[in-house]
C-alpha cells in the first residue's frame, strides 16, 4: 500500500469501531472494548508505519505525503478533501497515536472491566460499587460500551484533524471532537454537575468555533482555497498580508489568523475562554486525559501551529497571541497553586502549559511550540492517567471503609500513597518532574528550556520573565501535588487502604513515562554544554523546522535562560517540598487564598457579566416584552380580526355559495344525472358493446368529417 493510501485509512478504524459498537456490540462489554482497542491499534499501526516511512524520506519538508480528491463541486471548481503528512503532521501523528492507544487501554481498567455489575448502579452515574461476599468492591461501568464508542469517535475526529490537508477537513474533525467532548464530559449525565460541565464546554468552545468558521470563510473568500499547501505559498501569503481587512487596521492575514486563533482560544482553553476546562474534570479520567493531552486541546495548539505561516504575517496578531499565551500561562499557574482537587490542579496546569505553547508561537518559536506540544501531551497524559490511578486506588480505600463522604479526589485526603501504589507513584513522579522541567533527564525540561531560550534569544524579555515565573509556579504546585499525594504519611483511613491498580492501567503509565523522559532527548539544542556536542544534532528542530519554507533558526545558546530554567524548576520543586512536607490538613495550607482558590472569580464574573444579563434579556426583553408583549399582542389583534373575517366569509360566502350552491348543488346535479343514467348500466355487456361502438362511430365520423371534408 502506498503511504498516501495508508494515511487515508488511518482515521477509519475508530469510525468503524464507533459504528460497530453502536449498532452491534453494544450489549457485549468485552467485544466492545476489543473492537475499540483493535481499531485504536490499527490506527496506531498505520500511524507508526507512516511515521517510520516519513523518517526515511530525504527533505521530507519539501516532499510530504499528500493526496487529495475532488469532493464537492463549487461552481466551476471543486472543493477538495485530502490528506497531508508533513514533518509537523508526522510528529503530531506519532504522539496522538501513542496517547490514544494508551488511553484506550487504560480505559479498560479504569472502568473496572471484569468486576461485577453494581448493586444499584444506574446508567448515567459513576459506578457505586458492588457487594461480593460482604465486601464492597469496585463495580463495572454501566455504560461501558457507550464509552468506547464515544472515545472511538473522538479518536476518529483527532486523526481526521491531524491527517487533513485543508482547513475544511480540519474543521470537520475539530467539530466532531467538540461533539465528543460534550458527550464525554457529560458522560455521567445523571450528575447535574457533569451535565452543566458538558454544556459549559460545548458552549464555550462554540464561541471560539464561530470565530474560527468566520476566519475559514474569510480565508476561502479571499484565496478560494482552504488547502494548507496552497495557502502557504509565498504568493498567497504575501497577497493576504498586503490586503487590508478594514478591522483594527489588521491585514487580511492578520484578521484571519486572529479569527482562527480565537477558535484555538476556545479549544485550547486560553484566557478568557479557559473556564470550561477545569469543569471538564467531571468526565471520566480517561476522557480528561484524552481532552488534555491527546486530542482536544492539542488540536487547538496544532491548528495554530499549522496556521503559523499565516499568523506570522501580521505583527499585531502575533503580539496578541504572545500576550494571551503568556498571560494564560501565569494566570492559570497561580490558580493551580490553590486547588485541592488532584485533577483540577492538573487542569490548570494544562491551561498554563498551553499558554506556554501559545506564547512560544506568539514570539515565533515555531519548533519550540511544537516540541512542547508533544512532550506536554506525553507527560500530561501520564499525569492524568496517574491521577486517575490514584483516584482509583483511593476509591478502593473508600469502598473498604465504607465512608462515602470522603472525596477520593481531594489531595488532603491522601498522603503516603508512595508505598501503596509504587508504579503509580514513580510514573507520576516522572510526569510531575517533566511538567516542572526537572533538568536534563525529563522531556519537559528540554521543551520548556527551548521556549525560554527562544524568548530570550528573540529579545522578548517580558514574555521571558512571565514564562519564567509561570514555570516557577508550575514546579511549585507540581511538587505540592506530589508531596500531598504520595509523600508523608496517610492523612485518612481511606488513604491507608488505597491499592495499586490493575495492569491495564499501569502499563499505559509505564509506556507514557518512558516517552515523558526520552522524548525530550530528540530536541537537545546543538550548542548545549556537554550534551549538545554529544548528541550533536538537534534532530527535532531539524525535522519539524523543515515544515516551513524558511526553516526557523535555532536560537543562539545563552546561559541566562538555561540558568533561569534550572533555578525556577529546582527552586519551585524544592519550595513545594519544603512547604508541604509537614502539612497535615487544609487549614495548615498557607496558599488557600480565596482569590486564587476561586480562580480569580472568573466564573462569577462571567455569571454577572454574561450569563445573568443573558438571563435577564431572555426573561424580560425576549420573553416578557417581545414574546408576550409584541408577538402575542399582534397575535391577539389578529385573532379577533380573523375571527370576524372568517365568520363573515362563512355566513355570506361559504354557507350560501359554496355549501348550498356548489356543494349541495353539484351533489344534486350528480344525483340527478346518476338517477337518469342508471338505466344505461344494465349489466348486459352486449349493450355496453353496442354503446361503445356507437361512440366510436360518432367520434370516428366526426373526425373523418373534420379531417377530410372540412
Amino acid at each position: 500500500m502506498t503511504t498516501e493510501n495508508l494515511i487515508w485509512l488511518i482515521p477509519l478504524p475508530p469510525l468503524i469501531s464507533f459504528a460497530l459498537i453502536v449498532l452491534f456490540t453494544n450489549k457485549n462489554k468485552a467485544l466492545s472494548h476489543t473492537v475499540a482497542i483493535s481499531a485504536a491499534f490499527l490506527s496506531w499501526l498505520g500511524a507508526m508505519i507512516v511515521f517510520v516511512r516519513a523518517l526515511g524520506v530525504e527533505h521530507f519538508g519539501e516532499h510530504p505525503f499528500a493526496s487529495s480528491i475532488n469532493w464537492l463541486p463549487t461552481g466551476d471548481t471543486w472543493l477538495k478533501v485530502g490528506v497531508l503528512i508533513d514533518p509537523l503532521g508526522a510528529a503530531v501523528l506519532f504522539f496522538v497515536a501513542w496517547t490514544i492507544l494508551m488511553i484506550f487501554l487504560y480505559s479498560v481498567g479504569y472502568h473496572n472491566f471484569g468486576q461485577p455489575a453494581g448493586d444499584h448502579d444506574h446508567a448515567g452515574l459513576p459506578p457505586h460499587g458492588a457487594t461480593v461476599h460482604g465486601h464492597t468492591v469496585l463495580s463495572v461501568e454501566p455504560m461501558y460500551s457507550r464509552f468506547f464508542a464515544f472515545i472511538s469517535l473522538f479518536a476518529f475526529g483527532m486523526f481526521t484533524l491531524v491527517v487533513s490537508d485543508s482547513l475544511l477537513t480540519l474543521f470537520v474533525g475539530w467539530e466532531i471532537m467538540g461533539l465528543c467532548s460534550y458527550l464525554l464530559i457529560g458522560f455521567w449525565y445523571a450528575k447535574p454537575s457533569a451535565r452543566a460541565a458538558g454544556i459549559k464546554a460545548f458552549m464555550t468552545t462554540r464561541i471560539g468555533d464561530v470565530f474560527m468558521l468566520l476566519g475559514i470563510a474569510f480565508l476561502y473568500s479571499v484565496t478560494g482555497t482552504l488547502s494548507f499547501r496552497e495557502i502557504f505559498t509565498e504568493e498567497i501569503l504575501h497577497t493576504l498580508a498586503s490586503v487590508p481587512s478594514g478591522v483594527f487596521g489588521l491585514s487580511a492575514a492578520g484578521l484571519i489568523g486572529l479569527l482562527l486563533f480565537i477558535g484555538t482560544v476556545g479549544k485550547s482553553a486560553q484566557f478568557p475562554l479557559h473556564v470550561w476546562l477545569p469543569d471538564a474534570m467531571e468526565g471520566p479520567t480517561p476522557v480528561s486525559a484524552m481532552i488534555h493531552a491527546a486530542t482536544m486541546v492539542s488540536a487547538g495548539v496544532y491548528a495554530v501551529i499549522r496556521m503559523f505561516p499565516l499568523l506570522s504575517m501580521d505583527e499585531k496578531t502575533m503580539t496578541v497571541v504572545a500576550f494571551i499565551g503568556a498571560f494564560t500561562a501565569i494566570f492559570a499557574a497561580t490558580i493551580a497553586v490553590a486547588q485541592n482537587d488532584i485533577k483540577r490542579v492538573l487542569a490548570y496546569s494544562t491551561i498554563s502549559q498551553l499558554g506556554f505553547m501559545i506564547a512560544a508561537l506568539g514570539i515565533g518559536a515555531y519548533v519550540a511550540a511544537a516540541f512542547h506540544l508533544i512532550t506536554h501531551a506525553f507527560f500530561k497524559a501520564l499525569l492524568f492517567l496517574g491521577s486517575g490511578s490514584v483516584i482509583h486506588g483511593m476509591e478502593h480505600g473508600v469502598f473498604h471503609t465504607g465512608n462515602h463522604k470522603v472525596d477520593p479526589q481531594d489531595m488532603f485526603n491522601m498522603g503516603g500513597l508512595k508505598d501503596k501504589m509504587p508504579i503509580t507513584f514513580w510514573t507520576f513522579l516522572i510526569g510531575g518532574f517533566a511538567l516542572s522541567g526537572f533538568p536534563l533527564v525529563t522531556a519537559g525540561f528540554w521543551s520548556k528550556d527551548e521556549i525560554l531560550a527562544d524568548a530570550w534569544g528573540h529579545h522578548h524579555y517580558i514574555v521571558f520573565a512571565t514564562l519564567a515565573i509561570a514555570a516557577f509556579f508550575t514546579a511549585f504546585y507540581t511538587m505540592r501535588q506530589i508531596t500531598l499525594t504520595f509523600l508523608g504519611s496517610p492523612r485518612t483511613e481511606e488513604a491507608k487502604h488505597a491499592h495499586e491498580t490493575p495492569w491495564t492501567m499501569t502499563t499505559p503509565l509505564v509506556v507514557l513515562a518512558f516517552f515523558a523522559v526520552t522524548y525530550g532527548w530528540v530536541g537537545i539544542p546543538e550548542h548545549f554544554p556537554v550534551l549538545g556536542p554529544l548528541v550533536n544534532n538537534n534532530w527535532f528542530h531539524d525535522f519539524v523546522g523543515h515544515t516551513l519554507e524558511h526553516v526557523p533558526e535555532a536560537p543562539e545558546f545563552s546561559w541566562i535562560p538555561l540558568l533561569t530554567s534550572l533555578v525556577v524548576a529546582l527552586g519551585g520543586l524544592g519550595l513545594g517540598w519544603f512547604v508541604y512536607k509537614d502539612v497535615k490538613s487544609v487549614e495548615q495550607d498557607k496558599f488557600q487564598i480565596s482569590f486564587l482558590k476561586n480562580k480569580y472569580y472568573f466564573d462569577e464574573l462571567y455569571e454577572v457579566v454574561f450569563i445573568n444579563p443573558a438571563y435577564w434579556v431572555a426573561e424580560n426583553v425576549i420573553y416578557k416584552f417581545m414574546d408576550q408583549g409584541v408577538i402575542d399582542g399582534v397575535l391577539h389583534i389578529f385573532g379577533p380580526v380573523t375571527d370576524k373575517i372568517g365568520s363573515a366569509i362563512r355566513n355570506y360566502f361559504d354557507v350560501p355559495v359554496v355549501n348550498q350552491f356548489i356543494g349541495d348543488g353539484s351533489a344534486e346535479v350528480a344525483w340527478w344525472f346518476g338517477k337518469n343514467l342508471r338505466p344505461i348500466q344494465t349489466g348486459r355487456i352486449q349493450q355496453y358493446f353496442i354503446l361503445s361502438l356507437v361512440v366510436i362511430f360518432v367520434v370516428g365520423g366526426l373526425l373523418y368529417y373534420i379531417l377530410t371534408l372540412a
Partner: protein, 102 residues
C-alpha cells in the same frame, strides 16, 4: 390473380358477421362463436398483408400464429367460465346474468 381488396372485403364481412353474433346472441357460447369469427377475420387480414407485402418478412404469419394462441386461450378460459357459470346459475343466457348491474 386475386386483388388484395377481395381478401380485405371478405375479412371485413366476416368480421361484421362475427360482430353481429357477438352483439346479438343470447347464449354465451354463441357469443364466443361470434368472437371466434372476428378473430378469424383478423387472421385473414394478417396473412393477406403478409402475402401482399414483403413475403420474406414473416410478421403477418407470426402474428396470425399468436392470434391462434390467444384464441385458444380465450376459448379455454371463456368456455371454462361458461361452464362454471352454468353450474352456479343453471343458465348460459347472457341477459339473465346481470347480478353486477347498479
Amino acid at each position: 390473380m386475386i386483388p388484395l381488396s377481395w381478401y380485405l372485403t371478405f375479412a371485413a364481412a366476416l368480421f361484421s358477421i362475427g360482430l353481429f353474433g357477438a352483439l346479438s346472441r343470447r347464449n354465451m357460447v354463441a357469443i364466443l362463436l361470434g368472437v371466434e369469427l372476428m378473430l378469424n377475420a383478423v387472421n385473414v387480414n394478417l396473412v393477406a398483408f403478409w402475402r401482399y407485402g414483403d413475403v420474406a418478412q414473416m410478421a403477418g404469419q407470426v402474428f396470425a400464429i399468436i392470434v391462434f394462441a390467444v384464441a385458444a386461450a380465450e376459448v379455454a378460459v371463456g368456455l371454462a367460465l361458461v361452464i362454471s357459470v352454468y353450474r352456479r346459475h343453471n343458465t348460459v343466457i347472457a341477459e339473465e346474468l346481470d347480478l353486477m348491474k347498479w
